[in-house]
Symmetry: C2
Subunit: 183 residues, 2 copies
DNA sequence: CACTGATCTGACCGATCGGTCAGCCTCTGA
DNA sequence: TCAGAGGCTGACCGATCGGTCAGATCAGTG
């Protein structure tokens, strides 16, 4: 029961990731995390300012990669190049961080309100725009949103599929499904 | 404030639908619904046994259609026919009930535990199977799940798109993206 | 030895949740 | 006129939430 090791911080992070993935962010209480770690709820709040700080630290690496993808897309010369970079970059991100994305478990709408994800809303809008080949046509935007949301929502469920196989399948799907932008 | 009309039942349903769509099922309290209606929380619980009963009544029509779609898919002679019926039926269901689906807002995982959705889990598994053309290949199942989840997750966001246009765009996407089953 | 700072605990707080309950209105029909 | 039923209210309940706080424990330092 008594913990004297200073590695509790990491243990809390790992336990929180497991619980968030199992029951979602809102569905996981600080007591749940504490029980999984084997410490008190107060100990959890000794290592993290509040519940949100745990989520922030868990998501930080994925958010950083998403931000850099956003920049790389903006640098592309035309819509076709932007679409290709967006597709490849997003698939790579989804596969690499699928466990982190999984623990959001459809709570995107509420979680987007939180400071951690302050800029994600705009980034994802630009991502959809790139997916749609900068087209304003309704069908292009519908296609883009369905694919983006579908991948984000499901990639965490393929924990048993090897990275390369999942990556290939998703990229093939995107190339097949996305409407080609006008030249 | 005082309500003497017996139409409160319907008003509560409508208010609940709006609040669920805005902040999700778990994110909406009985007090929120009562405030929107303009009555007391106790009045809401006079008309409905509990919070879940409101959701049950809201979702009943959509669930019934999903159940009949499941039966129709099972009657198809081969995987190709089943895939086509599943695609057309699911798009139709998603478009017609997009406002009902929208108010689940990614809370599928938790809500699936509730009695209302007891059989939905198995039905959706059979739906994915039909989407995948009864193939066991990982890529086919990944594609099926991404598209199904993507449509379910996003169709509620296209409230401004006419039914026919949305339906056409989604069906075209499915025909383009789904892997063809072996003959 | 005394002291300090880091780590951790149990008890507690106010807020909010879904849900219950006794009773108050208002309308209706015998 | 009045009993009773339907509709509704305010007060209240136990549970749970995120978060606070005073203090206990312990390793290291002088």
């Amino acid at each position: 029961m008594a913990r004297t090791t200073p590695q509790t911080h990491g243990e809390i992070l790992a336990a929180a990731a497991r619980r968030f993935a199992a029951t979602g962010y809102r569905g996981t209480s600080l007591q749940d995390i504490a029980t999984e770690v084997g410490c008190s709820k107060a100990a959890v709040l000794y290592h993290f300012a509040n519940k949100e700080a745990i989520l922030t630290e868990l998501m930080a690496p994925a958010i950083e990669v998403l931000r850099s993808l956003d920049e790389r897309i903006a640098e592309q010369p035309g819509p076709a190049a932007a679409q290709r970079v967006a597709a490849e970059g997003f698939v790579d991100l989804a596969v690499r961080f699928r466990s982190e994305i999984a623990l959001l478990r459809g709570e995107f709408p509420e979680l987007l309100q939180q400071p951690v994800f302050a800029h994600i809303q705009q980034i994802s809008e630009r991502l959809i725009d790139a997916f749609a080949g900068h087209s304003a046509r309704a069908s292009a935007r519908i296609t883009a949103l369905v694919l983006l949301a579908g991948i984000a929502e499901t990639c965490g469920q393929f924990a048993d599929v090897p990275d390369q196989e999942l990556s290939d399948a998703l990229l093939a799907l995107l190339l097949r499904a996305l409407e080609q932008p006008a030249h």
